[in-house]
């Protein structure tokens, strides 16, 4: 498809941080070696955690389902390798201190038995079957939110969907997982997208990719026509890969406050999820491994690895050669939106796009200095909020004012805290405000329900 005259809308705000991608973007991704033990965290998706269906001591094959979906908004889990099921115990998780995890003790044979037949001629297959396959394979949004994928592909009947958007922007600094994926598994990404498009019955497939990945763009363009995908290079600007920003950049449509992409006729899928869809449908493999960037200046060999879900971070860092200097922070995800971790015992989950170590020099320490109202956060906020004013309101516990200042629209991209000269922990203030407001809304709802009954 020709790229000439493709109009790109530019969102207002955003920043351009040092992206650190040159550390790892030229290193081909490698398969991680097999480990002795994996710890698969039970709760890996938004919604309800899946139900455990194996017992301690039971033998499982690679790709065998070990937990099944509990309800609609839920995704099953699969064994990362063949072996024995160990304890189900609480371990430190990526976003909570005590999360139950299933221990899988590898037997070293690494034998597949998924019980899923490859659907080679998916173009002729029934849409319901395809959807079912994606749900069974446990695919979730692999960009970060971990929203079960099959739900996105089942829009309510009254919503008209006309565009499938593939998110290959990878605007987070340091991360190169999607970059390597698009370069090395181009066919899988595009074919997965075509499958998703068939399910959604849409003609238009747009792939947004930041133009700092020319090799990936070239590789995609070679095959794009074959699958009806338009590859759109976008200017490098964080958060170009934010869902709302990406939709705006590619289509000029604004997702309304509190709305969903499907309200404006779009469905957004991460390129990693597309590759996983391809694997699930055409190969019959569930989601048990993913591209993950292990990077940062303290890492000896920053590189991208195909690691299995449940790999402890300590081992993953070992793949990349370990550390060579002092690290101040361990981050799951990118430096702008990732979660800092307190121990190396956390494990890789379906949405771990990167494992990042930052030295003390690179990370900025937050202070409790006052807001000087410079307005840089207002100028740069991609959601057009007033982060400074909101944080002042939260600081003095005026949550209603914060709500009036639309704190609930904040997507926690971190641009405001990145530019704040007072180095205020703005995102933490917003999380606090959101949790308070949600708690209050739930209390009000409960009260109303009580009055009603």
């Amino acid at each position: 498809m020709s790229l000439t005259n493709f109009k790109i809308w530019h969102f207002r705000g955003g920043v351009h941080p040092y992206d650190g991608k040159e550390l790892s973007n030229q290193v081909p991704a490698q398969y991680a070696p097999l480990l002795e033990k994996y710890y698969v965290v039970l709760r890996q998706n938004i919604g309800k955690p899946p139900k455990l269906i194996v017992e301690k001591g039971q033998h499982v094959a690679k790709g065998q389902k070990i937990a099944e979906a509990d309800g609609f908004v839920s995704a099953p889990l699969h064994a990362p390798t063949s072996g024995t099921v160990g304890d189900v115990a609480d371990i430190p998780g990526a976003n909570g201190p005590n999360v139950p995890a299933i221990e899988i003790i590898a037997d070293g044979k690494d034998e597949w038995d998924t019980g899923l037949e490859p659907i080679k001629d998916w173009r002729q297959a029934d849409i319901t079957d395809l959807r079912h396959r994606i749900a069974e394979a446990g695919i979730v949004g692999m960009g970060g939110a971990a929203f079960p994928c099959h739900i996105k592909l089942t829009p309510p009947i009254e919503k008209i969907i006309d565009t499938l958007i593939l998110n290959g922007a990878e605007c987070e600094p340091y991360l190169t997982a999607d970059h390597r994926l698009m370069l090395e598994r181009t066919k899988a990404v595009l074919e997965g997208a075509a499958i998703a498009a068939k399910i959604l019955n849409v003609e238009r497939i747009l792939l947004g990719i930041e133009d700092n990945k020319p090799d990936a763009i070239e590789a995609l363009n070679k095959l794009a026509d074959q699958y009806g995908v338009t590859v759109v290079p976008l200017p490098v600007r964080y958060p170009q890969g934010g869902e709302k920003q990406l939709i705006y950049a590619l289509t000029g449509r604004c997702v309304m406050t509190g709305g969903l992409p499907m309200d404006v006729g779009c469905v957004v899928q991460n390129v990693g999820s597309c590759a996983a869809i391809y694997d699930a449908v055409a190969e019959g493999h569930p989601l048990i491994e993913r591209y993950t960037t292990i990077t940062g200046t303290p890492v000896v060999n920053p590189s991208t690895w195909i690691v299995r879900i449940g790999t402890p971070v300590r081992e993953a860092l070992g793949f990349a050669g370990g550390t060579k200097s002092h690290a101040a922070k361990l981050i799951m995800g990118g430096p702008m939106m990732g979660f800092a971790q307190m121990t190396l015992d956390v494990t890789v989950t379906k949405n771990t796009s990167g494992i990042l170590l930052l030295s003390a020099k690179e990370t900025g320490a937050y202070t409790s200095d006052p807001c000087i109202r410079c307005g840089r956060c207002v100028d740069n906020c991609p959601m057009h909020l007033q982060p400074g004013s909101i944080s002042v309101m939260v600081e003095s516990e005026h949550f209603h004012e914060a709500e009036h200042l639309n704190v609930m629209d904040c997507m926690e991209c971190g641009v405001c805290a990145y530019v704040c000269p007072a180095k205020r922990p703005l995102v933490q203030h917003f999380r606090r405000a959101k949790s308070e407001i949600i708690a209050e809304r739930q209390a009000a709802k409960a009260k109303a329900a009580m009055k009603h009954s």
Partner: protein
């Protein structure tokens, strides 16, 4: 079991013993409050240099007094409250410098001290320090001094080249003799500022004309005229102000709105009543308009946070300045206008609140989409 497993059995990662927990983002652009303040000081340098060039030793003395007193008061306050010293954020120095540039060259040390006390302690620290003060410390201190010590605040001395040229003096003398009620106006020759003269001789078209010749404009522009330390040389302020804009330390909407509204307003008044006031160029170049527009009204803490709000803020300051200058009791109204508009900032922020992204109704977008207008 294979060898790779053993090979990778590196249980202890050196250097990961003390991990820091915090919310995202984990990187920072590298700016800081003290850096911003130092950049402001840097942009003030041309203005300081011009004031020293024009007023020589007087300027050095006043600038020294004001910065020293501001720093001392800031430190004393921190000591009294047993808190960490806030000197290093540099805001006290900026306040001191801007206040100095707003004082007449003959300001005695006690005047500087009173001003600094008012600016630092009363206007800033009582409200909680940096970032909490609703009023601009320098503007408030200047207004307070003007109200309390109008004598020393209105005494202008200047070097011979800065005296008003004979044409202007003659026109003024004619007007004064013709209107005997202005008996107290004898001191214009020793060095009234052009603004003071314009106020004094309100009603005389000849004086207004004499004040707004191109030769006079050039004098105002390079600062060869009477006035406060920093306000005379429009050229130096322009250099510093453009530096501020270039470094993105101020919002361009404030100076634009302020200068634009002054030009428009005085232009209209001058066109209809030329005897009341000189033309727009005179008003922009004389008095505290330039330094007010670039250095005082744009103060981050006390100006609105949004672009449109800033524009409105600037326009209103310009309007109020003109009203005070043309009809009010004071010859100059910039600090009063800034102070007044500072009080309005919370309301402006409330009214000009930005709409969040996606505020445009989806229904409209949906309709357009179905019609095929968006593709």
């Amino acid at each position: 079991m294979n060898d790779t497993m053993k090979q990778n059995e590196q249980k202890n990662m050196p250097g990961c013993e003390m991990l820091v927990m915090s919310t995202s983002p984990h990187v920072h652009e590298g700016s800081s409050i003290s850096k911003i303040m130092m950049q402001v000081v840097l942009c003030l340098l041309p203005v300081i240099a011009a004031s020293i060039w024009h007023f020589r030793f007087h300027a050095v003395l006043v600038i020294f007094y004001c910065s020293a007193f501001c720093l001392i008061f800031e430190q004393l306050w921190d000591m009294a409250l047993h808190q960490k010293s806030t000197l290093k954020d540099g805001s006290a120095l900026v306040t001191g410098l801007i206040l100095a540039l707003n004082l007449p060259p003959t300001a005695p040390w006690w005047l500087c001290m009173t001003g600094c006390f008012f600016a630092i302690i009363i206007v800033k620290q009582l409200f909680g320090g940096l970032g909490q003060n609703p009023f601009n410390p320098a503007a408030a201190a200047r207004a307070a001094l003007l109200a309390g010590f109008s004598g020393p605040m209105m005494t202008w001395t200047m070097r011979a080249p800065a005296m008003l040229p004979p044409t202007v003096q003659k026109a003024a003398a004619d007007f004064v003799t013709s209107a005997t009620k202005h008996a107290a106006a004898a001191d214009f020759q020793t060095g009234a500022t052009p603004l003071g003269l314009a106020k004094l001789a309100s009603g005389s078209e000849s004086v207004m004309d004499a004040l707004s010749t191109s030769e006079m404009y050039w004098r105002y522009f390079i600062g060869n005229t009477g006035g406060s330390l920093g306000e005379t040389c429009a050229l130096a302020i322009l250099i510093g102000g453009l530096g501020l804009m270039f470094l993105r330390l101020i919002k361009w909407q404030v100076p634009l709105g302020m200068l634009g509204s002054i030009a428009l307003f005085t232009g209209i008044v001058h066109a209809f009543a030329p005897e009341l006031t000189p033309g727009p160029v005179f008003h922009i170049l004389s008095g505290g308009v330039m330094i007010g527009a670039f250095f005082m009204a744009t103060d981050m803490v006390t100006s609105p946070m949004t672009g449109w709000g800033s524009l409105f803020f600037g326009i209103m300051i310009g309007m109020l300045t003109c009203i005070i200058r043309i009809w009010g009791g004071y010859p100059e109204g910039v600090s009063f206008s800034i102070l007044f508009m500072n009080a309005l900032v919370p309301l402006i922020d409330r009214i000009f609140r930005p709409h969040p992204f996606g505020w445009t109704s989806t229904r409209a977008a949906g309709v357009q989409m179905r019609r095929g207008e968006i593709k």
